[in-house]
Symmetry: C7
Subunit: 73 residues, 7 copies
């Protein structure tokens, strides 16, 4: 159990996560880094929209203020 | 009775809560952590949209600025 | 008469208030707590949309940046 | 003539003002308080939408970030 | 020529300006005051929408975060 | 080559730039001033929408938070 | 592997990146500079919308708060 939300992100580091963004897109990838603004970096990133894979991106920086939810897979 | 809003979240810790987000989605789960930005972490998270269960997520970090309301169940 | 807006919220503490949110929903309940971000906590909360009662929530934390107006009933 | 915008609000204190909000609603009432975030408190508040009176509210706290314009009547 | 953007507003003080807002409305009036948030106060304010005059307002406080552009006439 | 983004704006000072705004409008003019919020001042400003010239403005202050992109012509 | 998200942007400096913006547009170019707000500067910038090239821009400053994602190509 964690006391602070960022502890949960810390435990998810180097694990597969799903990231939901405000524009309805999802990014699946390996969480490599995050900061207090919830800016994150994913590796092996796959973009999905409406359940379909729309792009394969390697490394991706996602700006924190576009993120709704991050969940380890 | 509480003097400050975060006291209410503190009392909801480790309890089932419903979280309404700005995009119309709801998340039900056990509140594990929160911070002053109202970033939260839920366990055993269930996503609902228009009253239907749309996803089962285990652990979920939800960014505070997407949250409208948090209510203990 | 009050000099600062938060004085008005302080006088509304433990009284019935109506809260209008940016998403068009209204929350009626007893104001238990607030902070400088206008995060609030209501008890005996009733959600209304387009004049209809849509949910009964007990205790509810509402994030300040979703709030348009708070008025004692 | 005023040097700073808040001086204009100070001169409007205890006077009738019209407040335009981002959601298209207007609030007419007596300006009782404001702060640097432009959070305001009105008395004898009347809500209008598309030129029609939609609600009579007594005391109303309006969150600053929803306000477009404040004009003394 | 000015080094800082607020110098341009300072030179526009007591002059006629046109103010474009994010909601598509325009305000024409005499710029009386501004601050670092670009909150402004106009006198002899005229509101226009789609090129039509929609309202005559005397003194008007306009919240900075609703403003797109300010141009001396 | 520049180390910081504002260095690029500094090199564009007194040059023709195109400014894209969030509302879909474009402003072409001579960049006279900017600050860390990316508030800018243009001279000889021309507004375009959907590729058409919609207005000729002399001096124009544009609020930083409405700007998407600034590119020297 | 990086500890902080900005480390990923630092490694992308002087490399080709794709930048997704909130308005649905994409910018491809060589990343020349960035700051903690994720304001960035690209060289040899190409704008795309719905998969089509819509503009060729040389040097482009993009304001951080409009950015969703930055990915090295």
């Amino acid at each position: 159990m964690e006391a602070r939300p960022l502890d949960a992100l810390n435990r998810a580091r180097d694990k597969k996560v799903i990231v939901d963004c405000k524009n309805g897109k999802q990014y699946l990838g390996t969480l490599r880094a995050f900061d207090i603004h919830i800016n994150i970096v994913l590796d092996d990133t796959e973009e999905r929209h409406n359940g379909e894979v729309t792009r394969k991106l390697g490394n991706a920086f996602i700006r924190g203020d576009t993120i709704v939810l991050i969940s380890p897979q």
